[in-house]
Symmetry: D2
Subunit: 155 residues, 4 copies
């Protein structure tokens, strides 16, 4: 992460933030079903991996755009969550994803980073690479706007 985004470094990511990012990744039923795992976290950055299975495909055998969108949005949300305060959550306001190539391969790797943090809005982006027999290929890029909100009280 460059100085642009935040002055905190990976080593100073507090327990509280680590906990929130785990909660975002482990606590979302839709994500648990999809199957990605978080493999790297630092202030303003996250990386996730998804082993591709038949259940991730669309009708022509490519990875469904919805799988890539979910991975891009969720990993960007986790990157944003590294920069908020205790008692806050991030919620996606909107995102755009460009599907650069039809994706087919063994695994997706999603790298998300915060472009601009903020107390109300956080701008982030995600790149998705697909591991193929010819190496890792950039298959999608997303641009995500996250709203920073107070954590809702449990019902």
């Amino acid at each position: 992460m460059n100085g642009e985004t935040d002055s905190r470094s990976a080593s100073t990511l507090t327990e509280c933030r680590i906990e929130e990012i785990d909660r975002v990744f482990q606590g979302a039923p839709f994500i648990r079903q999809l199957g990605p795992r978080l493999v790297r976290v630092s202030a303003g950055e996250c990386e996730s991996l998804l082993d591709l299975e038949r259940s991730h495909l669309q009708q022509d055998g490519y990875v469904h755009a919805g799988v890539q969108a979910t991975l891009a949005d969720h990993t960007a949300g986790a990157a944003g969550a590294t920069l908020i305060r205790s008692g806050q959550i991030v919620l996606t306001a909107e995102f755009k994803i460009s599907l650069l190539r039809a994706a087919r391969g063994e695994r997706l790797c999603c790298q998300a980073r915060v472009l601009k943090p903020g107390s109300r809005l956080i701008f982030a982006e995600s790149e998705i690479y697909c591991d193929t027999s010819a190496g890792a290929v950039l298959v999608a890029k997303a641009s995500v706007t996250l709203a920073v909100l107070p954590r809702p009280k449990p019902d």
Copy 2:
């Protein structure tokens, strides 16, 4: 559908197109797992319904943005597929989705329509309504660019 998009009406949707739209909806493993069903198809328009379950939620109990993105993209793709020729497919080039409200309720209804058909690009949009105890509420709107391509040959 207005005259803007196409002059064909629902009643002239050929067998061939109906088949392609069924294939798009039934043939995609990721969509079969998610669970939406197509309830209305006409030239340039599609509507789908998704009964919400716990597996569709994110960590705070709202419908995951990825679920809404998948539904919006896939239903727009089906709307686009009503306007292509035999031997062609549509593939999403990019889409943007705005999450207008945190979605919580019993069912999502997605209405997609083609804004502008074309032989190379089709522009479509999707609106997602959430059935709540207070009635149907617009929770998301997406704008989708579809590329029209020759159908790939089976491996």
Copy 3:
């Protein structure tokens, strides 16, 4: 405007709001140079017209995407400004514009409306029609996220 967006009707648009919308349209030097005029305002909705001149074109004789983007963004901002409180301003957080057709004609008409108002974020969309000899044609559609902020103090 439908009930979805706001309960205020056109007739109850206060003096204060009218003033703010005029300020947005007349007070922006870039807009004064471009030349659009506001022709209709109601709560959550605005319409603007731009008579096309050679200075609005790109290298192939079509209306420049930047002209359409500026018109779409600014008219959406004005629509959003009808729904804020005194002492607040709207600032565009992001927007997407789809250029549905190469635009060539005599005049652009931009119709913007708020999809979802809010105290922090306002979601709006704009449609641009081009007056041609064959009638008005939809040439672009934009989706705009506006941030609601306190008005900055003069320097």
Copy 4:
């Protein structure tokens, strides 16, 4: 430019491509009025500079989002135009721009690069930096989809 996008290097940009990029930048009346100049071109990449004047501002003294959108779109189009063949043009199909910070300063610098070239679609992105007394600050980022088309015949 990385290997991802194209194997041609700056030194092999043909005369024909240089001419097309000049035409895109000099031949667009809207761009001539706005005032940016192209300062660097290589295969898949372009950089432009815009000296800020009062005519580029919105009602609160910031650079108008439409100025940034025009610069981001046009510079991305020029980057795309480095990778097409003689007799072809690029036309923007859609773009999204995130306005990361309210921009105020002396000059904008726009760096555009192609993420994925193609014979029908080119995906590009642009970053806009604003020169301020505190140095260059990233103020906007855009994601652009360009359609590659045969050059229209003169009227």
